[in-house]
């Protein structure tokens, strides 16, 4: 088996196997069909758990613990060799599942990279160094002389992160800043003339970038192989399993409006009051108030309305009417209509855009003049409380919601809001604004016998 292993040859010539594979090549094992599916599903649970954790804005230390727990619960095996096998096999199976579209690849890459990052951090520093050399990273440790000249700045960076510059034998690597985007992004390194000074404990970032880049290319290759040979060859055996694994997992994508969920322009006002989640209510109120929304807000609200069942013509009429006090009909047709039609897949490359999920909305940071993003994350406490009260949430429930917000469980906060407003429980939790809408309509329909 071509498992790539990291060895540490001790004096007694015992080879210690590191359990962190790089997935360099597909294992030439024979795998039972059931294992094919089960291994993949177990790994999928790990990846989904990671996805949920990220959505809730968990801090790195929390994520690390989460990864450990998820791995223990789903991927452990008493025999190390079996565990490594399952690790590798499940990864390659999921590559087949997630190579097929850009969005799937992006998700898989993101989760596998996060998984790898945390598993790597948990390795011993010797194992880490060995893994680094396997990735052939050609970065030299900073010489003592150079270290002395930048020590002050390195110390500043460390203290800015609440750490101390390690003892005198701290090893730093000098790498082009392009190699460590996430360290640059968070201002966690000192950069000078294009070089970043990376601490040993940040070396993770270097390796993860390599890993990510490798997996990204591998996914494209896998996709090519899948479409050209594998899918056809395996149409009676693996293909149905692969296809089922994907769609059953991600859930509905809300790009096609539900049967009963068609709404027309005259219904929007009413339905906004009763069934919109806070993020969309806010955008809706703002567009009515300002007669304008910036691009991010137009996308988030526009796609949501599409998912809710607003037809293209009604959408054009809606936005045109709302913008009318500030934008002439002529200017609207020139500057805004195209984008709306684009969202509905009628222009350009005719992609039918999917309304944004909570995960996506939470990850966005609204800028100046923006009103999109997740209000549970971005509103000040005062503004959020006021908004909740306006929605009709009781003061007791507001406290519960704020408690979730303080712990950065934004989707749970939204779920509690839903429950408070509708007086009924929402067991599945809110993952998507359109899901909120549909569930809301369902509750109201069952109460009134009609769509509100």
């Amino acid at each position: 088996m071509e498992v790539f292993q990291s060895h540490r040859k001790s004096s007694s010539n015992n080879v210690i196997v590191s359990i962190l594979p790089f997935y360099r090549s597909a294992p030439p094992l024979e795998v039972r069909l059931e294992d094919f599916e089960f291994f993949a599903m177990d790994r999928l649970r790990v990846l989904k758990g990671i996805s949920d954790g990220l959505c809730r804005g968990k801090k790195p230390e929390e994520m690390e613990k989460l990864v450990v727990d998820l791995w223990k619960a789903n991927m452990r095996h008493p025999q190390a060799v079996e565990e490594v096998n399952k690790d590798i096999i499940s990864h390659f199976v999921l590559r087949l599942v997630y190579c097929r579209t850009e969005e799937l690849r992006k998700w898989f890459l993101s989760m596998e990279t996060t998984l790898f990052r945390h598993r790597f951090r948990l390795e011993s520093s010797e194992a880490q160094r060995a893994l680094m050399s396997e990735f052939k990273l050609p970065y030299k440790a900073v010489s003592n002389a150079e270290f002395e000249s930048v020590k002050d700045k390195l110390g500043q960076v460390a203290r800015s992160m609440g750490q101390n510059l390690a003892a005198a034998d701290a090893i730093f690597y000098k790498v082009p800043f392009e190699e460590v985007p996430d360290l640059v992004s968070g201002r966690r390194v000192f950069i000078h003339k294009g070089h970043a000074y990376v601490a040993m404990n940040q070396v993770v970032s270097l390796v993860v970038t390599q890993f990510r880049s490798y997996i990204s290319k591998a996914l494209i290759l896998t996709n090519r192989k899948w479409t050209s040979t594998i899918r056809e060859q395996e149409k009676d055996r693996l293909t149905p399993i692969v296809e089922a694994l994907c769609t059953s997992y991600l859930g509905p994508d809300y790009s096609q409006p539900q049967e009963f969920g068609e709404i027309s322009i005259k219904d929007i006002d009413q339905v906004a009051k009763t069934s919109f989640p806070l993020c969309m209510r806010h955008l809706f109120e703002k567009v009515k108030e300002d007669h304008h929304l910036k691009h991010g807000g137009r996308m988030q609200l526009g796609l949501f309305l599409k998912g809710v069942g607003l037809k293209l013509d009604d959408a054009l009429a809606f936005w045109k009417a709302e913008f009318a006090p500030k934008v002439s009909a002529e200017r609207f047709d020139k500057e805004y209509a195209y984008n709306i039609r684009h969202n509905y897949g009628r222009e350009g490359k005719r992609t039918d855009y999917t309304p944004y999920s909570c995960q996506k909305i939470i990850s966005v940071t609204p800028g100046i003049g923006d009103h999109h993003g997740c209000p549970y994350r971005h509103f000040s406490e005062e503004n959020l409380r006021a908004a909740l009260v306006r929605m009709g949430v009781s003061s007791r429930a507001v406290e519960d919601v704020m408690d979730k917000v303080h712990n950065r469980h934004y989707q749970l906060a939204c779920t509690l809001t839903f429950e408070a407003v509708h007086g009924s429980s929402c067991d599945a939790g809110i993952n998507h604004p359109n899901q909120y809408f549909i569930d809301s309509q369902r509750v109201l329909q069952s109460k009134n016998g009609s769509v509100a």
């Binding site: 992004s185 201002r187 003339k193 806010h282």
Partner: protein, 452 residues
Amino acid sequence: MTKEEADNGRDDMVIDVPGQANAVPDGFNANYLRIYYGKLFPHADMFKWMSYGNDGKHPGCDKSYFGRREFSFTLENDIYIRFQSFNSVTELENSIKEKCPFKIDIGPVYSVDPAKRHAYAQSGDNVFTPVERELVFDIDISDYDDVRYCCTGADVCLECWPLMTIAIKVIDTSLRDDFGFNHILWVYSGRRGVHCWVCDGKARRLTNEQRAAIADYFHVYKGNENSQKKISLPGLVLHPFLARSYTEVLKGFFEAKLLPNQNLLASEERYEKILEMIPDASVASELRRRWQENKRASMSKDDINIVRWEQLKSILQSGKQKMQGLRRCVEEIVFSYTYPRLDMEVSRHMNHLLKAPFCVHPKTGRVCVPIDPNNCDEFDPTTVPTLSQLLEELNRGGLRQDAENEWDRTSLGESVAFFRTSFLQPLLKSCKEEIENSYNAKLQQSKNDLSW
């Protein structure tokens, strides 16, 4: 004069105005533009810039390079055409003169000529995708409306323009010292902001992820009217980049200029905004009490803002303050008023189109001229040459044999000269070296490959 008046049969208005032979009424219209593009717009310089040394003179040149660059034109009636490409300076010049675009945008260099894009797939092997693009930044003074009281929206004056000046200083210094970039062009956007073009080869080849990392490195001001705290500087000390920006640029500017000019502490409405940023309510109350009692700067002749700022600083920075959040409060206040507010989206993606330098802004008639970052204190947006002013200057010069370099006769001459000597020439020199080195390296490698 309005656009309609200008258009009514005044084809050669350069000569037509009665009374003043040379006077050209203020305005922006196709007729003016035609002359501008005919005599003043520096087509050849733009071509040389966009070719990045690939002029065909060296065997290592890529002759297809210029032809793979996307331009987009906004024509007179708001007609917008994308994916314009040209194979020579003549094609570029003729197209501009013929179409007379009201705005020219520059996009990325693609893998193939944009004109042929339909023959290529969206994904897979033969893709139509951006391969090079300058690293760009866009700073707009209307994003600072909450900290300037002299103007709002699209207006700009000499009181608030310095906010742009310090933004240039902070970003320019960091691009050079931290990231090691050298070929940086700052351009006045024509009305209310500045653009930055980083043209080093390394910059042009940055991936979207790397661009996002740089944008995030600069991202300190976060939030909008819905969130309360827009600047958060945790940590015991500031990262060297932030510390340098504070001590070298922001602190001085805030204390000496912005504070007194915008009267940030003179009235209750304005000082409340600052008091809101102090996390310790008792400190805020203490200051509020003091300032409410002394509505005038009593004994001191000094500006009331400065007096009050000193009081604020001395309380917050006194050794008595134990509270964690207060440590960096003074810096946070200064940063929230002065730190550059970049439009993050502009910088993150390779395919973002940005207005070309030397365009004329339709609403102000001002030319988008380069700004010297080493002298940006001297830049005055209210004296930037306008279209009508330039045409008037051309008239005064009379007819000349030599049709080259007409800009020398006008105020534009200075800008073109600066563009050439400070930016274009050093850039092209560096590009040539790069092409030569890369060519030689390839030759060497093929020699090595052949050697047995």
